[in-house]
């Protein structure tokens, strides 16, 4: 009996011990230090905006005098809050202190991953199309496939940049001391003190512009986004960096700037990118009329091609004629010697799967339920940006450059894909099984390669010390599609080169925006 007792207690002890072992999985960016700008970029009001015609296109009234009872009341609000910060409030301040552009970028990527689910086939073999005016009904709107995601990242980032540029203009114009610099009984809580003027609040500008943009791009998330925006503003006040008046002025400015971008977005042709059954059939007919084999969907049942008219979307970095001018030579025709060689190479890779190769495939897969390749490059960029000690406005400018590049890469890539309407390897040789899902659009050129070539080019310009790292990553992203069995080598090599060209337009923009 004693033995039973010892055995049982021993066993239960072992189970309690193992059950109590800490499982510690936390986000890499959860505990980043507070932003410490090495340069406040006080001249950012003179930089070149994306859409604004002038930095003061939207008026921001002068702040009330610091002697005014309104201002004194605002300081009391901060002091009262700082006296009794809860743990949650402290964590909120620390979270936002790492950088508003960074945090919104992370939130955006989360939304893209959330909405990146293709609609399930209906019983009759058709696929419902998400409806922007009824976003909460299945299929949820939006479906954040790579082109949609690239455009969403671009609009939000570009709007954030213009809004912060205007914000900086008024900051230097009114030169209002931050509360923690004005009143010695206000402390800088979990943020680094800086001499950046506080009116209007850059945190609130970001909250306002982003929340307003999200109404267009993620209409099913308005409530959540609004809550997050309020948290950001509240964190700015509690930290001692901004007053209630700084926040109110900032949010209003941000929302006004967003309206300009929303107006542009409504007219940029993206809303028509899904196309119609006539459009879809037309791609097949045109390809056949050239004596070529048209692409078809490898999904069961066959799914209409993804956003086939996305190539008509209005780019940010150049005009639509440039999109056409970036079209490369045609891919090898199905049945040609070159194509047979390309297919054989793909087959050789999938028939000889190595652990290293499948690791590369999954690392870059960025497929269903992920933040897509443009999101991946945002992740890569932000993790390096945090080491650069940028100001918020420079953060916004650089992220905007990256994301305008990615959106335009999507436009150019989609133009090429639907111009040539070329078959995937598995269409040519059905025995080719793939290590990731086959994207539902033509092969030539590889989207991953185009996105990656473009991103590596602009990021290499912004952080020359990392340029060779980025170009190696871009090459690996392209390679992942070849060894994964979903692209020919030609798709990847030409895609990379086209992406590099798109990126060079972004460099041109960066060289001339006054921020260097």
């Amino acid at each position: 009996m004693k033995n039973i007792f010892y055995s049982l207690t021993g066993l239960i002890g072992l189970m309690l011990f193992t059950a109590s072992c800490q499982k510690d999985v936390s986000n890499r960016t959860a505990n980043l230090p507070a932003l410490q700008s090495s340069n406040l970029d006080l001249n950012a009001g003179t930089w070149k905006p994306v859409l604004l015609s002038r930095p003061d296109s939207f008026a921001v009234a002068a702040p009330v005098a610091t002697t005014s009872p309104l201002y004194v009341a605002d300081l009391f609000e901060i002091k009262a809050l700082q006296k009794s910060l809860t743990k949650d409030q402290e964590n909120s301040i620390k979270y936002w202190a790492a950088g508003g552009v960074l945090r919104w970028n992370e939130i955006m990527r989360g939304l893209v991953a959330k909405y990146n689910l293709p609609v399930v086939a209906s019983a009759d073999g058709t696929y419902a199309i998400p409806n922007a005016s009824n976003p909460l009904a299945y299929p949820l709107f939006p479906f954040t496939n790579p082109p949609y995601a690239a455009r969403a990242y671009a609009y939000i980032s570009a709007a954030q940049y213009d809004a912060l540029l205007a914000c900086w203009f008024y900051k230097t114009k009114y030169n209002r001391l931050a509360p923690y610099n004005f009143d010695s009984s206000v402390s800088a809580k979990f943020v680094n003190k800086s001499d950046l003027p506080s009116y209007p609040s850059e945190a609130a500008v970001l909250a306002g512009v982003t929340a307003e943009m999200m109404k267009l791009l993620f209409p099913g998330e308005i409530g959540n986004i609004q809550n997050i925006a309020v948290q950001q503003e509240q964190a700015a006040i509690m930290s001692g960096a901004a007053t209630r008046a700084d926040v109110t002025a900032g949010e209003a400015l941000g929302r006004q700037v967003a309206e300009m971008f929303i107006t542009r977005a409504r007219g940029d042709n993206a809303g028509k990118a899904v196309g119609t059954p006539t459009d879809w059939a037309n791609f097949v007919d045109v390809t056949k009329s050239q004596g070529l084999i048209p692409w078809y969907s490898l999904e069961i049942p066959q799914r209409p091609p993804m956003l086939p008219l996305f190539y008509k979307v209005k780019p940010f970095l150049f005009d639509s004629a440039t999109v056409v001018s970036l079209r490369p030579d045609p891919p090898p025709a199905v049945g040609s010697d070159q194509m047979n060689k390309d297919v054989a190479e793909v087959k050789q890779y999938v028939n000889n799967v190595t652990r290293k190769n499948i690791g590369i495939v999954e690392f870059w897969a960025d497929g269903v339920g992920t933040y897509t390749p443009p999101g991946h490059w945002n992740a890569i960029a932000t993790e390096d940006f945090v080491k650069q000690n940028y100001s918020e406005v420079r953060w916004a400018r650089n992220i905007a450059l990256l994301n305008m590049t990615e959106m335009d890469a999507a436009i150019v890539c989609w133009d090429i894909k639907y111009h040539f309407f070329n078959a995937r390897p598995t269409q040519v040789d059905p025995s080719i099984k793939t290590l990731t899902g086959i994207p539902n659009f033509p092969a030539y050129v590889s989207g991953h390669s185009t996105f990656s070539g473009a991103a590596a080019t602009i990021l290499g310009y912004l952080m020359p010390e990392n340029a060779s790292k980025y170009s190696a990553m871009a090459e690996e992203a392209g390679l992942s599609r070849l060894v994964g069995g979903i692209h020919y080598r030609t798709d990847c090599e030409v895609g990379l080169s086209v992406g590099n060209k798109v990126g060079s337009y972004a460099i041109l923009k960066a060289q001339n925006d006054g921020a260097n």
Binding site: N3, I4, S7, L8, G10, L11, I12, L14, M15, T18, A19, C21, K23, D24, V25, S26, N27, R28, T29, A30, E106, R109, G110, A113, K114, L117, P118, V119, V120, A121, Y138, L298, E299, I300, P301, V350, V353, R355, I358, G359, I360, E362, F363, A365, G367, V368, G369, T370, Y371, A379, T426, I432, K433, T434, L435, T436, G437, I438, G485
Partner: protein
């Protein structure tokens, strides 16, 4: 007792969306090897599913067809004493989808080691016999296989520690065994640097794996050279996420399943050291798992050292 020369090989149930079916089931029965007896065997298993549960919603997927997992498992059990056995198993697994384009994977999965201790053996009632067992287990991947390509991955990649209690009652030739194991699972690392699960994005390549409870009930007849049993198996995961509509499965999904099946083991009279075993098992309820049908058969050979 002849019972102690018998090894249960009611293997692997082939239950999951992933091929984590090579779980040795020898830890969960009431059979012990005698001192210095050594049993080695090979089992082949097929498990396939056409329907699966996406969260709690059952569906099929024409882009997968029937997803099958096959394995060959080597298992070795040694009687350290009559009351203490050590069990080791090593499965080689390969997966296949009958439709769509996804590539199957193959390789050695997890080595599993169990120490089984019979801490009580006593008469209970007329002709009745009660035994109680405690089992401690450890399993860990034999190689860093790809665990983020579900449902084609061969496993999930966690290292697991388990503690099990088993009660067995035999009266005449009839017996019943009830067993339950708590399994603690380590975090796993995936090849991606972020993932979306459980309604939020995670900016890390580490995945928190919820712990699990395995339970089984066997009822049947047990004679010196024959075991025939009906079985009810359950796997429950303490937390984890559901697969979203039309999303891919993920390592930390809440994978629950209940299955029913049968198991036969027979020792040849002319070759009493050789056992043949056969199993069939059918998933009847689940969450984030495939509704699998599993069949297996194996041969085991016992030697006295």
């Amino acid at each position: 007792m002849k019972k102690k020369t018998i090894l249960n090989v009611s293997l692997a149930l082939g239950f999951s969306l992933v091929a984590m079916l090579a779980k040795s089931q020898t830890a969960d029965d009431a059979i012990m090897m005698g001192k210095k007896q050594w049993c080695n065997g090979l089992t082949y298993m097929y498990s396939g599913w056409k329907n699966y549960w996406e969260g709690t919603t059952k569906r099929d997927n024409k882009n997968l067809g029937t997803v099958s997992t096959q394995s060959v498992m080597f298992m070795s059990t040694y009687g350290i004493t009559n009351k203490l056995n050590a069990i080791v198993s090593v499965p080689y697994i390969w997966t296949h989808a009958s439709a769509g384009t996804l590539h199957g994977l193959k390789g050695f999965q997890d080595i599993e080691m169990n120490i089984k201790y019979e801490f009580l053996e006593s008469k209970l009632g007329k002709d009745g016999h009660l035994s109680l067992f405690a089992v401690g287990g450890l399993s860990t991947p034999l190689q860093k296989y790809e665990n983020d390509f579900l449902p084609m991955s061969i496993g999930l990649g966690s290292t697991n520690l388990s503690g099990r209690l088993t009660a067995d009652y035999q009266k005449g030739i009839f017996f019943a065994t009830a067993s339950s194991a708590f399994e603690w699972r380590s975090d796993v690392t995936i090849d991606r640097t972020s993932y979306y699960t459980g309604d939020e994005i995670h900016y890390t390549n580490k995945v928190d794996m919820p712990n699990q409870l395995y339970s089984n009930l066997f009822v049947g007849i047990r004679k010196p050279n024959l075991i025939v049993q009906a079985q009810l198996l359950n796997m429950y995961t303490f937390g984890g996420s559901d697969i979203r509509k039309n999303d891919m499965p993920f390592a930390s999904n809440q994978m629950n399943m209940t299955s029913v099946g049968g198991h036969v083991k027979y020792f040849f009279l002319f070759l009493p050291n050789l056992a043949v075993v056969a199993d069939a098992d059918f998933t009847v309820a689940g969450r984030n798992v495939g509704q699998s049908q599993m069949y297996s058969g194996g041969l085991y050979y016992v030697v006295s050292l």
